[in-house]
């Protein structure tokens, strides 16, 4: 079982396909859960303390907006943990924690420069493409075993 980071990091389809094929999907909600359900909420309501953007300094310089560093505090450790990656190019409806274009560029760059196996895809628009989409993910994940 490999740890596979998916991009977009909140994707339901990608995380489901990874888990369904016997691997561990690295996704943002897990990190969010660790923050918001911690027993000692130091910074209500979301427990995002000044420490979070500082963690992001490992991945982005100090003059980079704190929003990028804050997001990287969540996504950066996932990239470090990852043994493979599936990247679906910008679908155009990324929102919430996945809605920052600069962060997304940095995430894709860090994944690519890490030297792990990467599968690049586009979201399907018809049945034929969907079959190829699923088949490529299946073949990629089987190759990791």
């Amino acid at each position: 079982m490999s740890k596979v980071i998916v991009y977009p990091p909140t994707s339901m389809i990608l995380s489901d396909l990874v888990e369904r094929m016997g691997h561990k999907a690295l996704v943002v909600p897990e990190r969010v859960r660790e923050l918001v359900t911690a027993n000692d909420v130091q910074s209500p309501p979301l427990n995002v303390t000044p420490e979070e953007p500082k963690k992001g300094l490992r991945y982005a310089a100090v003059d980079v907006p704190s929003g990028v560093r804050g997001r990287m505090a969540l996504i950066g450790p996932l990239i470090e943990e990852a043994e493979a990656a599936i990247i679906v190019e910008d679908p155009g409806w990324l929102t919430g924690c996945a809605g920052c274009s600069r962060t997304n560029e940095l995430v894709r760059l860090l994944i690519r420069t890490k030297g792990i196996p990467v599968l690049d895809l586009n979201y399907p628009t018809d049945d034929a493409q969907a079959k190829v989409f699923v088949q490529k993910i299946r073949a990629f994940l089987e190759g990791l075993k």
Partner: protein, 138 residues
């Protein structure tokens, strides 16, 4: 550790969110369930939720999708009842991907070999067009 998972059904699946909720109510698992328009949220201990989700997926392996959720169901920090209405931020991603679920379901159900998609014809280059014109005129 308590975890929360979404169980989301494809719009073409014969399984309804209410069917899933009823299955969970009738099961031996000690979890909290919240039914939504697109599926259910299940909250409980990690091992219990994982086992339950496996059982639920067996109802329609190609038509049921699972997603992690950070906040527990009904959490006042995210619940729209406490925020004055509107969808919670994570819903837009689910909504957009839900539109693709029928296609993905059919692809998962078909399982077998995939026929290659014919490459789209590229537009004729102007230089090639000029050559053709010259050939025809000469």
């Amino acid at each position: 550790m308590k975890v929360t998972k979404y169980v989301i059904t494809s719009s073409e699946s014969d399984i309804l969110p209410s069917d899933i909720a009823m299955k969970i109510y009738g099961s031996k698992y000690d979890v909290n369930v919240k039914e939504t328009c697109f599926g259910v949220m299940v909250n409980g201990e990690e091992e219990v939720v994982d086992a339950l989700v496996k059982d639920i997926r067996a109802l329609d392996p190609a038509g049921i999708f699972i997603k992690d959720r950070g906040f527990p169901p009904g959490d006042p920090r995210r619940c729209r009842g406490h925020r004055g209405g509107g969808a919670r931020p994570g819903f837009y991603m689910i909504e957009s991907e839900s539109k693709m679920l029928p296609m993905i379901s059919r692809a998962l159900a078909s399982g077998g070999e995939v026929t290659a998609i014919p490459e789209k014809k590229k537009p004729l280059l102007p230089s090639r067009l000029e050559e053709i014109i010259k050939e025809d005129l000469s």
